[in-house]
């Protein structure tokens, strides 16, 4: 029972991290209708910028975090102006844009592999102290991970739901041509969506890399984790993405309870896929008419 509680606590922490990632993936996906594969690139760019600032240039942590977030924002802008926007202007198909985005992920991870090497890199740090909450032990970093990511996810959700720009993002995803006809400031909306997406991906990326280190090829796994959580929760529902992330974190915890931990990803993905087969539009997805369904 204590083991289960501990695992549930770990699952909640994992769920909060994944919720931010799912939202970072989902906001770009929902606004641009582009399967944002380069989100994996965004993740590793943020991690390695953090590594370069904290471990190589030996900056204090707060400065290193700022540098990493700035680098991540710059990468997002590069991605938007050099790729997504030209592709959108040319009216390239969703699948074509997705494959180009996959190309970005491949190029990015290999540039990082040449620059920093293929092996796992860790940022040296003092051991994180462990805090006991009843029977559950969490490291101070885990508490930070949960608090920061849960808060970020909630605030970003309020921004998306309440702000004009957030609504415009959703509108852009639903009716791109209508959004143009209404003369919404598309450039600014797209920039805002990319930057918010980058922030939502980078914060958990930094917190994960501070904990377990990073390798250049982990982007694909995080992309799958984020997109699976978003689609599982319901791909048009911001709060659904959080539910999907929580389900994934708890499913992994449940697997580790009964099976060796290396099976966590494998069995958790299989479980989610099994459930999704019965609810193809996700837990909170809306039913659509056949000609709208996709």
């Amino acid at each position: 029972m204590e083991l289960l509680l501990q695992l549930v606590a770990n699952g909640l922490v994992q769920g909060a991290l994944v919720a931010c990632l799912a939202a970072g993936f989902g906001i770009v996906y929902r606004s641009f209708r582009v399967f944002h594969v380069a989100m994996g690139a965004q993740f590793v760019v943020a991690s390695y910028a953090f590594y370069a600032a904290a471990a190589i240039a030996k900056m204090p942590t707060a400065v290193a975090v700022a540098v990493a977030l700035a680098a991540s924002a710059a990468f997002a802008m590069l991605l938007e102006f050099a790729m997504y926007r030209p592709f959108a202007k040319r009216r390239c198909a969703g699948g074509a844009t997705m494959i180009a985005s996959l190309g970005v992920l491949i190029v990015t991870e290999n540039v990082l592999a040449i620059t920093f090497g293929n092996e796992v890199k860790t940022i040296p740090h003092a051991p994180y102290e462990s805090t006991a909450l009843g029977a559950v032990h969490l490291t101070s970093l885990q508490l930070w991970q949960f608090a920061v990511c849960a808060a970020l996810f909630a605030v970003a959700g309020l921004v998306v739901a309440r702000s004009r720009t957030g609504k415009a993002c959703w509108a852009l995803g639903d009716e791109p041509d209508l959004a143009r006809a209404l003369r919404l400031p598309l450039g600014r909306i797209r920039t805002a969506a990319m930057l918010l997406g980058a922030l939502l991906v980078s914060v958990p990326a930094l917190m994960v890399s501070a904990d377990t280190g990073m390798d250049p090829h982990e982007g694909m796994r995080w992309l799958l984790v984020a997109s699976m959580a978003a689609f599982f929760g319901g791909r048009d529902r911001y709060w659904g993405w959080g539910a999907g992330a929580l389900a994934l974190g708890l499913a992994q915890a449940a697997v580790v309870w009964r099976l060796p931990s290396q099976w966590a990803d494998t069995v958790a993905f299989a479980m989610l896929l099994g459930v999704l087969a019965f609810r193809p539009r996700g837990l909170f997805g809306q039913a659509r008419r056949a000609e709208e369904a996709a």
Partner: protein, 289 residues
């Protein structure tokens, strides 16, 4: 000479894999990232049947292809509830699950240590031991797949698939059953990939899971993107280009830890540029949507 034969074997294997992906992606329009799953299932199943269970090649090969078909059927059940991006995510999840099984089910697959001691097949007393004879066998099978593919591409079945690809609702209203037709395509594609997997296992005599990860599926997809899909020649051209690319880099004299990533950087850029300028690839009939 061995080097040329090695390239020919690789071209034959990747030609088959590209054809396999072409059925799903180029004809069905279903963007799957799980080709390497069936490639891996073919390799491990053949390895297990021939080494652990001790079956002769003449039965192990057909059994592997049947196993591939079965896996393709299960795959169809799990993923055909979805379309478009959701289908792609589901195939990525399947690929991730399959890799996890290859990697962690150590009792059967050997896990990260791999599956050693797979021998070259023998047929009617003739062992395809030498590089030349094995290469000839692979090329013959690849050629046979091309011929079969030509039959396939002119069949009503391929026409039905292309119709579904263009407009699923309209196709369904013409009496084409979407899921049944797609499932048949996935099964066919899985059988072809499993065949390539079995050949690969015999060729290298040792299989380990890293060759069947999602990167391999992406690599096979890249062949369709570069060469084009929806016809016979596109994927073959793409396979030839992407198999030749690392060999061309070999002559530049770069160290291996730069040449490997550099190869991937080049094909990553190819994906971006081609999707922008030429979404049908160099010789394809179908532009990915």
């Amino acid at each position: 000479m061995t080097y040329v034969l090695h390239l020919a074997v690789m071209l034959g294997l990747y030609g088959m894999l590209a054809m396999s992906a072409n059925i799903t992606i180029g004809y069905g329009g279903l963007l799957s990232l799980a080709t390497a799953t069936f490639y891996g299932i073919g390799a491990y199943l053949y390895a297990w049947l021939s080494v652990t269970a001790g079956w002769p090649a003449a039965t192990a090969f057909p059994a592997t292809i049947a196993g591939g078909a079965l896996a393709g059927g299960v795959f169809a059940l799990a993923t055909l509830r979805f379309r478009n991006e959701t289908f792609t995510v589901a195939t990525m999840a399947v690929q991730m699950v399959a890799f996890g099984v290859f990697y962690n089910w150590t009792a059967v697959t050997g896990g990260p240590y791999g599956f050693p001691d797979i021998v070259r097949p023998s047929l009617f007393g003739f062992v395809f031991e030498s590089q030349t004879s094995f290469c000839a066998a692979v090329l013959a099978l690849c050629l046979a797949s091309c011929v079969l593919f030509r039959f396939f591409s002119r069949s009503r079945f391929a026409l039905a698939l292309r119709t579904l690809r263009e407009d699923e609702l309209a196709a369904a209203s013409l009496g084409i059953a979407p899921n049944r037709t797609f499932a048949a395509a996935l099964v066919l594609s899985a059988m072809l990939a499993a065949t390539a997997g079995a050949l690969f296992a015999c060729y290298v005599s040792y299989v380990d899971p890293t060759g069947f990860a999602i990167g391999e599926s992406v690599f096979i997809l890249a062949m369709l993107i570069v060469g084009g899909s929806g016809n016979l020649k596109g994927p073959i051209i793409g396979a030839a280009i992407l198999v030749a690319l690392p060999e061309a880099l070999r002559f530049t004299g770069l160290p291996a830890d730069v040449a490997g990533p550099l190869r991937e950087i080049i094909y990553g850029f190819l994906l971006i540029v081609l999707m922008y300028l030429k979404p049908k690839g160099l010789a394809g009939d179908y532009a990915i949507r």
